[in-house]
């Protein structure tokens, strides 16, 4: 009787351990995960899926005026079913849309990854009458179905503006 009872505790321990592993697989691993890679200059910023969990809207990336930002949006479907979504990317400023970057349909099979790449040219965003010292902030909105990811893009002025020398007039 005592041995049976002892073994019961061991089985219950094993059941608890297996249940924890089960939760980690079902709740922690499975699902849809997206990762954003923003490359500006020589730096690559990686924004992982869990970064949005705390509802922190201050994910940002900066670039110098005249540069381009290269963005890679990776979606990982860790489900037994197929996943489909419409991806819409746009640039906003002051709650107004400045530019549509892309609109694409993404279809992923079970346990597979997909990615979309695009680039953002700072020259296309800055108004033509902007002075060289001005800096600009834009919001890059990535919409995947119901989910929206926002990244603030800082466009900084050129640190050392090119000084145009005017040749002295001939005497």
């Amino acid at each position: 009787m005592a041995t049976k009872r002892r073994n019961l505790y061991l089985y219950l321990t094993l059941i608890c351990f297996l249940a924890i592993i089960g939760i980690f697989i079902v709740d922690g691993y499975m699902g849809i995960y997206d990762t954003i890679y923003v490359t500006t200059g020589e730096w690559e910023h990686k924004i992982e899926s869990d970064a949005w969990r705390d509802n922190d809207p201050h994910w940002s990336s900066g670039m110098t005026r005249g540069e381009k930002a290269f963005v890679r949006y990776e979606v990982d479907n860790r489900q037994f079913s197929r996943y489909e979504a419409d991806i819409e990317v746009s640039v906003w400023q002051m709650q107004a849309k400045v530019k549509d970057v892309l609109a694409q349909h993404m279809a992923l099979g079970a346990f597979s990854k997909g990615q979309i790449e695009w680039e953002i040219d700072s020259a296309e965003l800055i108004p033509p009458d902007a002075t060289p010292e001005q800096e600009f902030n834009y919001t890059l909105k990535i919409k995947r179905g119901e989910i929206e990811r926002n990244i603030i893009l800082y466009i900084n002025p050129v640190p050392y503006p090119v000084i145009k020398t005017v040749p002295a007039p001939p005497r």
């Binding site: 002892r6 219950l12 321990t13 608890c16 351990f17 924890i20 980690f24 709740d27 922690g28 691993y29």
Partner: protein, 60 residues
């Protein structure tokens, strides 16, 4: 002091097993939902409680 080689190997095995489970837990705990974290915590407490009762039963 005469430690059998088997026990040393068992010790290494258990250590590697714990390291592996710990690494996976650290990796995926970030993706767990709040409810998942809570249930995992409760199950961990229950697991250690049952394990303690088992060791108590075998006379440790």
């Amino acid at each position: 002091m005469n430690i059998r080689l088997e026990y040393v190997l068992f010790g290494f095995g258990i250590l590697f097993c714990l390291a592996g489970v710990g690494y996976l837990a650290a990796e995926y705990v970030q993706n767990l939902s709040e409810a998942g974290k809570l249930v995992s915590l409760l199950l961990t407490v229950a697991m250690f409680a049952f394990l303690s009762k088992y060791f108590e039963g075998i006379g440790w």
